[in-house]
């Protein structure tokens, strides 16, 4: 079950905490994986850790050119893209009253617009092949909101709406489009939280622990697999029960 043998994956945000775990997981299931991010050294570290079947594909997703070049480079390296995992994302937190236009735009550009552009760019070949998977990493915050994250919440909610619309357009070509919405996941970012902050967080998480990057990569593996062929337009919430939607 859940084999990805012979498949090719383009993964963005591969230099990040969650991305690294997704990269290893898809490779373990047999897929060849293109690793994208802006930090070349970090990508190379993931690639050398994985070994054969991983390709370093640096790109800045904040521009249309960055997206187009990435798709061309990935198609070249992998021979085609069967599975796209849009995992790159960033935050520029501030209360709305002080949020700068620039910080609104950057978050929308990278989290939402690049996700759309990459999806659009891979669609034609997926539709032609009559097989494809697009998996977009959203966030619990896209559903529940979070003070200080109007830009981020909008981008992550936008990803969900976009995915549902896109899913309807391509469903009869056996291309599925789904989201994974993580709750609080332990990464370098959340490790910076103090123990009292973590304790407070945990009171809202029925499972009694933060999520791990493996919780997220497992959800991606499922949605990428043949077994998930009948699941589309869905958002898989992986949040330890923190929000039951």
């Amino acid at each position: 079950m859940f084999s990805l043998a012979e498949k090719t994956v383009l993964l963005t945000g591969a230099s990040g905490g969650i991305g690294g775990a997704i990269a290893r997981a898809v490779r373990e299931r047999g897929a060849h994986v293109g690793l994208s991010g802006t930090r070349v050294k970090a990508l190379q570290a993931v690639a050398s850790d994985i070994g054969a079947g991983a390709y370093v594909l640096p790109a800045d997703l904040s521009t249309p050119d960055g997206v187009n070049q990435l798709v061309a480079a990935a198609t070249d390296a992998l021979g085609g893209i069967d599975i796209l995992i849009n995992n790159a994302g960033l935050t520029r937190d501030s209360l709305a009253i002080r949020l700068k236009d620039e910080d609104w735009q950057t978050v929308i550009d990278v989290n939402l617009t690049a996700t759309f552009r990459l999806s659009r760019a891979v669609l034609r070949s997926m539709v032609k092949a009559r097989w494809g998977r697009i998996i977009n990493i959203s966030s619990i915050v896209g559903i529940t909101g979070n003070a200080g994250q109007t830009n981020y919440a909008a981008s992550k909610a936008g990803i969900i709406g976009m995915s549902k619309a896109l899913a309807q357009e391509v469903a009869n070509r056996s291309v599925t489009v789904n989201c994974v919405a993580p709750g609080f996941i332990t990464t370098a970012m959340t490790e910076a939280l103090s123990t009292s902050q973590t304790q407070k967080l945990l009171t809202n998480i029925p499972t009694g622990r933060l999520g791990t990057v493996h919780d997220i990569s497992a959800a991606c593996i499922y949605l990428a697999s043949e077994e998930a062929a009948y699941v589309t337009g869905h958002t898989l919430h992986v949040n330890g029960g923190m929000a039951m939607i």
């Binding site: 034609r124 539709v127 032609k128 357009e169 391509v170 009869n172 070509r173």
Partner: protein
Amino acid sequence: MSDVADRVKKIVIEHLGVDEEKVVESANFIEDLGADSLDTVELVMAFEEEFGCEIPDDAAENISTIKNAIDFIETQQG
């Protein structure tokens, strides 16, 4: 038959996987050739690529038969 007509028909046959004899000039992509809306968009994109022209959305909306496509491309090239 014009060169444009040949090329248009070839694209339609390849893309929709229909028999050559069905691909007559009066054939409607959706009603006669079983295309859906995504197919028609893909066809327009394939025509654009083949003929190196741009087919704006309002023109594309009026391209529903093989003849419509040939006529549009010929006026562009003319």
